[in-house]
């Protein structure tokens, strides 16, 4: 018998008692603990894969009464990804001076909460976990205590609290109508509901909050500030951008599945995903700051994932989920390498960093592998997931939209890749920490392995057989090479000398404007549902 609640509790307990041990031993035990956790979670995953979903009622109440934890295939795959990434991060911070007891306590608590969100089956429970995670992340993104950190932290905190208030209001209305808060009980309860009109308000309230968490089009302006702030250590940025934002997508997915018999908004969210992807790209191109560029590129990749999971096509759906996992890997590598580059060059301006390849070879290789992953180069993991999403959308405008998005991604990363080449002006190669190099190189090798063994990995993780057709994959790759040429031309012609999109950055939304956009999104959702249902 495998107790799921221990997976959630152990990191937080360990983070607390680590305070008693000296920091040097703590760091060593921490790595062992994380490795053990990965093995244990793998065992749970194997168990789920073999015998189906594990359901645990906390406090041994009967079903749908108390809090239930549920590990189905998707949830346990996400938990496995979480534990693996946290293992990598704990190894990465091993020799860092900022990693003290408080940092580890917060970091491991965050791990507990993320695992909790993935395993939880109860809407109120998810609310509590997200609220606690918001508080912890706020402290983590202000961790280096730079001058501007407090503004970024307060913005992040208050906006997320406002969004979760919307979520809780929707939850109250849902409870009034239905009387249960359990995802699977909801699904059966919805089949009894005759009139979908009565669920418009709760759905609109909750989906507004979840869209903010997942950083969809009008609601993403909090994300780059939080993920790209100078005061956040690079491991925190990597976890936030690689993993935490995925909890929003995960809750979105669960809600959509639960509401699917009554309310179907997948078409709207495909369009929103497309708009998000394009807006994220434009903003990423306009940035000068390395971390902000990566943060905006996260926004655009979330758009791609949203397109995938909302297309109502099995190929695109699994492609979207695979892209979610791929994005976690290459984006966290990019954030880690960006952190190393920033601390070596002592600048965050992308124009001032030159010759990373020559000066820091290992970091250069890791960066280029993950860039190849994110732009979907042949044989890399991004190409498999983007291919699956594209083949699920064949024959619609989305297929061309995806080519456009990928072209934009290529232009963004040609801009980012400029820092690899040229001469750094420094004689000897930098001596960065061996563990850091090992972590980024391992993660970036995974980008390559995830591409070669793409369909096998999908078969293992999600238990679905998807075959990559060689002919159409070849055509996609020809398109990719074409896009590379076009992208280089666009970059050289338009962006090399002057930054033509720099004016976008001057439109910055303040707190009141973001709250206004949340309210407008909510009003739009209500109006849309009134008109379509």
């Amino acid at each position: 018998m495998i107790n799921l609640h221990w997976v959630i509790l152990l990191p937080i307990i360990f983070g607390t008692i680590a305070k008693l041990i000296s920091i040097k031993t703590t760091k060593k035990i921490m790595i062992l603990f994380q490795a053990a956790l990965v093995i244990w979670v793998t065992l749970i995953f194997v168990e789920v894969r073999k015998n189906g979903t594990i359901l645990e009622n906390v406090g041994s109440w009967p079903d749908t009464f108390g809090i239930t934890l549920r590990a189905d295939l998707l949830a346990s795959a996400m938990v496995l990804l979480t534990c693996f990434l946290f293992l990598a991060m704990v190894i990465f911070v091993h020799n860092k001076h900022y990693a003290d007891h408080l940092f580890f306590f917060l970091f491991l608590s965050l791990e507990s909460l993320i695992i909790g969100i993935f395993l939880s089956n109860d809407l109120f429970n998810i609310f509590v976990l997200i609220e606690a995670a918001t508080l912890i992340i706020t402290i983590l993104i202000m961790y280096k205590k730079t001058n501007i950190a407090i503004y970024d932290g307060l913005m992040y905190f208050l906006i997320n609290v406002v969004a979760m208030s919307f979520f809780l209001m929707g939850l109250g209305m849902l409870y009034k109508k239905i009387g249960v808060l359990d995802f699977y009980a909801l699904k059966t309860a919805f089949s009894q509901v005759k009139d979908p009109q009565s669920l418009i308000l709760p759905y609109a309230f909750m989906i507004t909050a979840v869209s903010l968490k997942a950083a969809l089009m009008p609601l993403f302006s909090w994300l780059p500030k939080a993920h790209g702030t100078p005061s956040a250590p690079s491991v925190v940025s990597a976890i936030l951008s690689g993993l935490y934002v995925k909890t929003g997508i995960y809750v979105f997915l669960r809600l959509q599945i639960a509401f699917s018999p009554l309310i179907d908004t997948s078409e709207l969210f495909v369009i929103l995903g497309f708009v998000t992807a394009i807006a994220g790209l434009m903003l990423a191109l306009a940035q000068k700051d390395i971390k902000l560029l990566l943060a905006y590129s996260t926004v655009s990749q979330i758009g791609v994932i949203m397109i995938g999971i909302n297309l109502n096509n099995p190929m695109a759906y699994w492609g979207g989920l695979y892209h979610l996992i791929n994005h976690a890997i290459f984006k966290s590598t990019l954030f880690l390498t960006a952190g190393m580059i920033i601390s070596e060059y002592k600048t965050r301006n992308i124009d001032e960093v030159k010759g990373v390849f020559e000066h820091m070879p290992a970091v250069g290789i890791a960066t280029i592998l993950s860039i190849l992953g994110i732009i979907g180069a042949p044989l890399f993991n991004g190409s498999i997931s983007k291919y699956l999403i594209a083949s699920g959308s064949s024959g619609t405008w989305i297929e061309y939209g995806l080519i456009l998005i990928n072209l934009g991604t290529i232009v963004v990363f040609i801009k980012y890749g400029q820092l690899l080449f040229g001469s750094s002006g420094k004689k000897e190669t930098a001596d960065s920490d061996i563990l850091e190099k090992a972590v980024v190189l391992t993660l970036s090798t995974l980008c390559f392995l995830g591409g070669i063994f793409g369909s096998e990995l999908i078969a293992i993780l999600f238990n679905v057989k998807l075959t990559v057709d060689r002919l159409s994959y070849g055509i996609k790759m020809l398109l990719f090479i074409g896009s590379i040429f076009l992208g280089t031309l666009i970059y050289r012609g338009l962006f090399k000398k002057t930054n033509r999109l720099a004016f976008i950055t001057s439109f910055e939304l303040g707190f009141n404007e973001i709250c206004l956009s949340i309210t407008l999104f909510f009003a739009f959702m209500v109006a849309y549902l009134k008109l379509t249902l």
């Binding site: 109120f124 509590v128 609220e131 508080l135 706020t138 001058n147 501007i148 407090i150 503004y151 970024d152 932290g153 307060l154 905190f157 208050l158 609290v161 406002v162 208030s165 809780l168 209001m169 109250g172 209305m173 409870y175 009034k176 910055e508 303040g510 707190f511 009141n512 709250c515 206004l516 309210t519």
Partner: protein, 117 residues
Amino acid sequence: MITINGETISIVLFFVGVYGLIARRNIIKSIMSISIMQVAIILYFISANTAPGSVPPIGDVAQTLQVADPLPQALMITDIVIGIGVTAAGLTMFIHLYHRYGSTNWQKVMKKRNHHD
């Protein structure tokens, strides 16, 4: 006709809070607006679905006929705790922000923040 009961009042209060968030530039007022929204949510949970004359599920309720649904009340105890935590954390961060930037106005603080970059 809309009757005046806990439910309608809570919805009105919720949007009063939302109005405060949109229209007020003062950071303390923003935090107060969030508190108002939280109070509205608590009122909604407690008052929705309660039959008039029912008793809260506290102490010995074996004799009474109608007991209110205990689940929303249990959830709201959790939410009150979260609400206090959020307000306290928000105000603490505001004090630090005020020491750094010397202003309670979102716009001015944002301008100073971008000046630092």
